[in-house]
Symmetry: C2
Subunit: 218 residues, 2 copies
């Protein structure tokens, strides 16, 4: 397999390809040319051919790509051809939003439980998952062999919770807490810092106005 040689830049683009291929499959489309895909994805056709060449010859001259093959191959690379049991820590609004996201389930990310310390939510169900007390988290993770966890609690408790999870065997942390977590080398963290994303938007909005002012002054 040539998997190891696929560049990080291509990997970062794969989830987006996957999303487009999924949409096409839902629409009943079976094949697509790189030109047609390039129009939809706002990439150049040559970029697409280069990216998809990484997975062998799925594109046949004149026939285009077999969407299902490509979709399945990308799923394998992204490690979403198998199911992943997950937990969510924090049953606040964000934790509930994630637990209710049907798209995750569709892609094989199964939320097995949500943990919280608030007695008002413990014992309820969010999405399909039970809300359990924090004290049960460690045993649950070990007993169910959970490898992935979403962190939806404030930054202060997040540090300690993540340390426990790693000790329990979790390998992938999806971190929504506003803190950069220091983790060992064989543990991966994907940060979603919403405030930072909003600040980037705000910066770019400011840039639009600055450009408009400059055009006026020219």
């Amino acid at each position: 397999m040539a998997k190891k040689e696929i560049s990080q830049a291509v990997i970062l683009r794969l989830p987006r390809y996957y999303r487009y291929l999924e949409d096409l499959m839902e629409q009943g489309v079976e094949r697509i040319s790189s030109n047609e895909l390039s129009k939809r994805m706002h990439l150049t056709a040559s970029q697409i051919r280069q990216d998809l060449n990484n997975f062998g010859g799925f594109g046949q001259q004149g026939y285009g790509y077999n969407i299902k093959n490509l979709h399945d191959e990308i799923a394998k690379i992204l490690n979403i051809d198998v199911e992943h049991d997950m937990i969510i820590v924090g049953a606040g609004h964000l934790g509930q939003a994630l637990a209710n996201y049907t798209n995750f389930r569709k892609r094989g990310f199964l939320i097995k439980a949500v943990f919280d310390q608030d007695p008002r939510v413990i014992g309820t169900t969010v999405g399909n998952a039970p809300v359990l007390p924090m004290e049960k988290m460690d045993d649950f993770v070990k007993d169910h062999g959970i490898k992935m966890a979403a962190i939806c609690i404030p930054k202060a408790p997040a540090v300690e919770v993540v340390e426990s999870l790693i000790a329990d065997g979790v390998v992938g942390i999806w971190n929504f807490a506003h803190v950069d977590l220091a983790v060992p080398e064989n543990i991966v963290i994907e940060n979603v810092h919403l405030s930072e994303s909003l600040m980037r938007l705000s910066y770019r909005v400011g840039e639009v106005y600055r450009n408009q002012d400059e055009e006026k002054n020219e």
Copy 2:
């Protein structure tokens, strides 16, 4: 002003600097050296000095950076030294999570209203914001001069809603819908595609296991 010359790479790092400086201010710290900041942020001290040199001589040899000055200067660049009135489209779990996020309010992002079509939520309040019917969105945006909107609805209606918002004067779109929106040049979009983020995590978790297998086989 040297603002225009700051590279995009530095800009992308600014929200993270801002977050650290904010934490330091909350802890009552007034000055910090580049060495100390580098330890906290896991960046090299020389990277930090290079980045922060973009905003003029805030670091004095032997004295370190004046945290408040630096914080305020970065706020100006990020366009968060002023308040931004926003709306959220979609009062589902994610829309409610954003509306309830006190961090946004603290940084001057004020959610003025949330729009939804579900009669069960219309008339309620989320965070501090009223939930109003979709039909009122256009007038509200125009009357209040709203420039920023968060899109928390499914992809199918998102395309049309964003077109309306742009016609109403919105400049910045914070897009949580799973669709790439085509917008005019003077409109900015910040995408938060949570499924793609989760797939990247899943890929990297798979990579950890592949590396472990290879080590075993060596």
